[in-house]
Subunit: 390 residues, 2 copies
C-alpha cells in the first residue's frame, strides 16, 4: 500500500450557527445524505404563534450573513439595507431567517464538509467531499431549508424572499410547500435558467477546470486553491450582474495610470475593478461549491418538473406572490418575471408584478433602490394585514 | 554564459501571399518597426484606372481568407456569402482585397513573426516577438494596410468595408485617409470600445494569463500553447457575439445526453457548442496575437484622438458612409452606430444609416441576412454610379 496522503491544511473553521440532521436527506440525483447540517442566522424575534418568520434565500455567492458583519470579509451583511429595525424586512416586527444553501461553503453541508464514510470503511479523520459531493438541485436546497424551518417550530413561513438564485428558491418553496408559504417574493429571478446564462456559467466552470491548481477537484489535498480560475469565473459572472449603463457610469473608459507610463502600460479602471472582484472572491469561496451551485442553477426548470406547464407548479396555490424585476437586468430580464406572472395568473394565484426602473442591472436587488425597498415594505405590510399578523 | 535555449518548434509556415516593406513603420506607441509584412488575398480584377478596389477589413479573429477555403481549417471563407461573382461585393465588378491585420497571426507582422535584432546583436536564427511585440492600435493596422494599397497602385479605394473591429478600421481609414476612401461601410461597429466590451476582453486575457502553459507569454519557447486559457477567452467572447434569442433558438435547454446517464452527467447542448468553439479556435490562433488585437480594440476611441469631438475626425470629409447595425447586437448596439451617424451629420458628411432587424446578434454580419446583403449591394451600386465606375 502506498503512503497515505497528507491531511489537507484546512482553514480554521468558523463556528457557524448551525443545526444538524441525522435522519437522511434524499436528493434529486438519487443519492441520500446520511446526515446534513444547515448553517443559518436569524434576526428579530419569533412570535409566540411562530407566524412572523421571513425566510431570506441567498444568491449564488451569498450566504446567511444577511444583516451583520461578515465573519470572513469583515464587510457589512449583503442585505443590511433591507433587513433590520425599521427596514423593509423590519426585524422589529418579523423574524428574519437565512440559511446557507446546501452545497455552499459557509457551514451548511457541501463540498468542504467531511465526506461520509462508506459503510464498512475504516474510520479515520474524514476528508472533505470535494468534487465528489453529490449534485444538488434548487429543490434539494429548499428541502434542506424546510428541515431547519420545521426544526424551529415554524409551520408556515410568513414570507419567502430572495433575489436571483434566491428567487428561484422562493419559487421552488411556493411550488413544493404551498401550505408552508403565506407570501413569496421572487426578485430578479426566472422559472428556468436560460441558454445564455448556462453559457456564462460554463465559461466560469471551464476557467476553473483550466487552472492547474484545480487538480481535478482535489486541490485541498495539496493545500491549493484554483484561485486564478475561480477569479476568472467571478469576473465573467460579475459583468453579467451589471448593466452596460452602470459599467459606463462607474468606469467608462477611464484609465488608471501607472507613473505617466506609455499608452499600453495603463489599465482601464474597469479592468482593475474586475481583477479586484476576482481576487477578493477567492478568499471567501470554495471552487467546488461554485461548481455545485452553478450547476444547480443551470438545471433549474420549474415547468419541466411539472409536465412542462409552469402553471401546474402552482395549482390551487393560496400563496400571495410579489414578483420584482429590474428594467436594466439582462441576466434575468423582466420578460422572465413576466412569464412567471402569467403562469401564476393561469393558476388563478394572487400575484403582483413590479418592474423597477433602474440602470443598475441585476445587482440592483443588492443596492440602495428606494422604489424597490418601498415595494418590499408595502407588499409585506399588506400581507401582514391579510395574515392578521400582530 | 548559460546554454542557449532550444529553438522553438514552430508549425510549418503557410506560404501566405504577402508583401514586405523595409522602410519602417512608426507605431502609435512610439516604437518603429524596421520592416513589416502585410499578408493579403484579393478577388476579382483591378481595372486599368485602379478605381474599383474594395478593401475588406477583418474582425478580431478573422483573417484575409475572405472568400476561399481557409488554409488551416479547410472551411469556407468567412465572407463567402458576401464576396464573389454576383454577390453583394461582386468580384465580376470590384477588386476585393483583404489584409491580415498588423498584430495578427496569418502572415502579417505580429507576435509570431521573427523578432527584429537589436542593433549590434549577434546574428542568429531570430526568435519570434511573442509577448514583446509592440502594442499596436487600430490606426497602426490601417497604416500597414495603406502601405499595401499604395504598393498595389491604388490611389483611392472605391470602398472600405468591415464588421466589428473591421468597422473600427473602416472608420479609421475614413478619418486618417479621407481622400483615399470614396465610400466607407462600418458594420456593427462603434467609434470607441465600451466599458462592458473592455470588461469581456479583460476576462479573456485573464483566462490566458491564468493558463500555466502561458508561461509569461514565452510559451513558444517550450513548444507549448496556452490552449485552455485561450479556449476560455474564446468561449466568453463567443457568448457576446450571439443574442440571447439566437442562443435560445439554437440550443434552448436541450441536453446532450450520455448513455441514459444520471441527471448531472448530461451536458447542455450550449455547453458542448461552446467547448467546441473554444477548442477549434486554439488550433488556428495565437494567444499573443489575441492579446495584442483585443488591446488594440480596447484602446480605440476615435473622438479622443480628435480632441474629444467625433465630428472633428471627419471634418470636410467627402467620403460616402453607410452605417449598418443589427437590432439584436448587444456588443455593438445600434445606439453606438447611431452616435457615429450623428457625428457624421454634424460634419455634414454624406451618410446612410440602416438598422437590420434580426435576432442573430453581433454575428449577423457574418451570416446569411438578405436585408443586410441587399443594403450592401444597393449602397455600392449607388456609389459606383457617383464614382462613374465603369
Amino acid at each position: 500500500m502506498s503512503e497515505a496522503p497528507a491531511l489537507p491544511e484546512l482553514p480554521a473553521p468558523i463556528p457557524h450557527q448551525a443545526v444538524s440532521f441525522a435522519d437522511g436527506l434524499a436528493l434529486d440525483c438519487g443519492i441520500r445524505l446520511a446526515r446534513h447540517t444547515v448553517a443559518y442566522r436569524a434576526y428579530g424575534r419569533l412570535n409566540a404563534q411562530a407566524s412572523n418568520a421571513i425566510l431570506v434565500c441567498h444568491a449564488l455567492t451569498g450566504d446567511q450573513y444577511v444583516a451583520e458583519t461578515h465573519p470572513l470579509t469583515g464587510r457589512e451583511g449583503w442585505w443590511s439595507t433591507v433587513v433590520g429595525p425599521g427596514r423593509p424586512l423590519d426585524t422589529d416586527r418579523y423574524f428574519v431567517l437565512c440559511a446557507n444553501v446546501l452545497g455552499g461553503c459557509m457551514g451548511s453541508t457541501g463540498p468542504t464538509s467531511p465526506r461520509e464514510e462508506p459503510a464498512g470503511a475504516e474510520r479515520g479523520v474524514p476528508e472533505p467531499w470535494g468534487i465528489d459531493f453529490p449534485a444538488v438541485t434548487i429543490r434539494d436546497m429548499v428541502r434542506a431549508q424546510k428541515r431547519l424551518v420545521d426544526h424551529l417550530g415554524i409551520r408556515r413561513l410568513f414570507a419567502v424572499v430572495g433575489g436571483s438564485m434566491g428567487g428561484m428558491q422562493a419559487l421552488e418553496w411556493a411550488a413544493s410547500y404551498p401550505k408552508a408559504v403565506f407570501a413569496a417574493i421572487p426578485i430578479a429571478a426566472a422559472s428556468f435558467h436560460s441558454a445564455q446564462n448556462i453559457a456564462f456559467h460554463e465559461v466560469g466552470r471551464q476557467a476553473i477546470f483550466a487552472d492547474p491548481d484545480w487538480m481535478g477537484g482535489q486541490y485541498w489535498r495539496a493545500g491549493k486553491v484554483p484561485a486564478r480560475g475561480l477569479a476568472v469565473a467571478r469576473m465573467a459572472a460579475h459583468i453579467t450582474y451589471l448593466s452596460e449603463a452602470a459599467l459606463t457610469r462607474k468606469f467608462g473608459r477611464r484609465l488608471r495610470g501607472g507613473q505617466g507610463s506609455s499608452l499600453f502600460e495603463d489599465m482601464f479602471e474597469v479592468e482593475s475593478y474586475l481583477r479586484h472582484q476576482g481576487s477578493s472572491f477567492v478568499r471567501r469561496f470554495d471552487a467546488n461549491s461554485y461548481l455545485t451551485i452553478t450547476r444547480a442553477m443551470d438545471y433549474f426548470d420549474l415547468a419541466a418538473d411539472h409536465g412542462g406547464d409552469l402553471a401546474a407548479a402552482f395549482a390551487e396555490t393560496k400563496t400571495r406572490f410579489c414578483l420584482v424585476s429590474f428594467s436594466s437586468d439582462w441576466l434575468f430580464p423582466t420578460a422572465q418575471s413576466r412569464a412567471v406572472a402569467r403562469a401564476l395568473n393561469r393558476a388563478a394565484a394572487n400575484v403582483s408584478f413590479v418592474e423597477i426602473e433602474t440602470d443598475k442591472g441585476h445587482d440592483a436587488f443588492l443596492l440602495d433602490e428606494p422604489d424597490f425597498h418601498r415595494t418590499l415594505a408595502g407588499f409585506l405590510a399588506g400581507c401582514a394585514e391579510h395574515a392578521r399578523l400582530p
